[in-house]
């Protein structure tokens, strides 16, 4: 090793640090990779939330979600970001009729949830009631809102943490949806 090589090493270190920072600083540290992407839906059998009836009779299972692309959204009335994304969910569920939007009412008060949807409209075809958060744990959910894209075979293809808005829909959801259609 000659002297020149010794001067190259700090340079290389600098460039690699720079690369690491450029790459790393642009990433959101809250974006935890999901262990469930490209895995089938977890098994569950949970009651649905009916807006017009006090109690639901039918249980919802993963089989009810296959046959088309589903957007599964974990939400609750106690979660402020869920209030923020709600109008956009209503809007996008009306314009994307081919997708079935499934809500998971996560650790919520059911009366509050019903009132919320009656007042502001429901984007959901079906609403699964997860009172104790156990379905959330099976989905690897850390909090609300979280949204999963599930393909027509019942495989989870994408996990989004946080609010959905127009920009996020166009930049992250649309590419995933068109790739699995």
């Amino acid at each position: 090793m000659n002297k020149r090589a010794l001067f190259i090493i700090p340079g290389l270190l600098f460039i690699s640090m720079l690369g690491l920072l450029l790459f790393g600083l642009g990433r959101d540290p809250n974006m935890v990779p999901s262990a469930l992407v490209n895995r089938p839906l977890p098994e569950f059998s949970l009651p649905g939330l009916e807006l017009d009836a006090a109690e639901s009779i039918a249980l919802i299972t993963p089989e009810d979600l296959t046959g088309g692309i589903s957007i599964i959204n974990f939400w609750a009335t106690w979660c402020p970001p869920c209030h923020i994304e709600h109008p956009y969910l209503v809007e996008i569920s009306e314009s994307e009729q081919g997708l079935s939007f499934i809500g998971v009412n996560y650790k919520d008060d059911l009366n509050e949830a019903r009132l919320f949807l009656e007042e502001k409209g429901s984007p959901f075809k079906k609403i699964i009631v997860d009172l104790d958060g156990s379905l959330g744990i099976d989905f690897g959910v850390a909090g609300a809102p979280e949204t999963f894209i599930v393909d027509s075979f019942g495989m989870i293809r994408y996990r989004h943490v946080g609010v959905i808005n127009h920009q996020i829909w166009e930049e992250t959801f649309e590419p995933v949806i068109s790739s699995i259609q």
Binding site: M1, V32, A35, L36, K107, G133, D138, G140, A142, G143
Partner: protein, 155 residues
Amino acid sequence: MRKLFLLFSFFSFFWACVLPVNAAIEVYQFDNDSQQERFNNLSDQLRCPMCLNSNLSGSDAPIAADLRAEIYEQILDGRSNEQIIDFMTQRYGDFINYRPPLNSGTFVLWFGPLILLLAGLLIIWRMGKNSQKLTPSELTVAEQQKLNDILASKK
């Protein structure tokens, strides 16, 4: 008075920083001490998926409480530590484990520091070797004379 107040706020801040954080306040009843110990170990070893830099035992987040409850129930169900960690990893990924398993994705994490240390040692060793080579060689009488002349002329 103001000084006293400053001193007081300094010490409260100091204690707030140094006292161990333990947010878990639930009281769990175990059948025996080893179950209690396993519960404590697991909730210390597993990371809260929401807060990134605290473990389950040190987090106030609702999901951390849910996962502690899950660990508690699974311990009472007689599941082993490996089964519980597998359960968590299947749902939350290697991320949840403060002691990540060794695989191709975590290779750099486990061996990166060692490789850097070895590289550093190698560089130091090569530098030492080079500096030995650079020790002044013997000058001939003529060369020494020339050197003295140059040095003298600079003065």
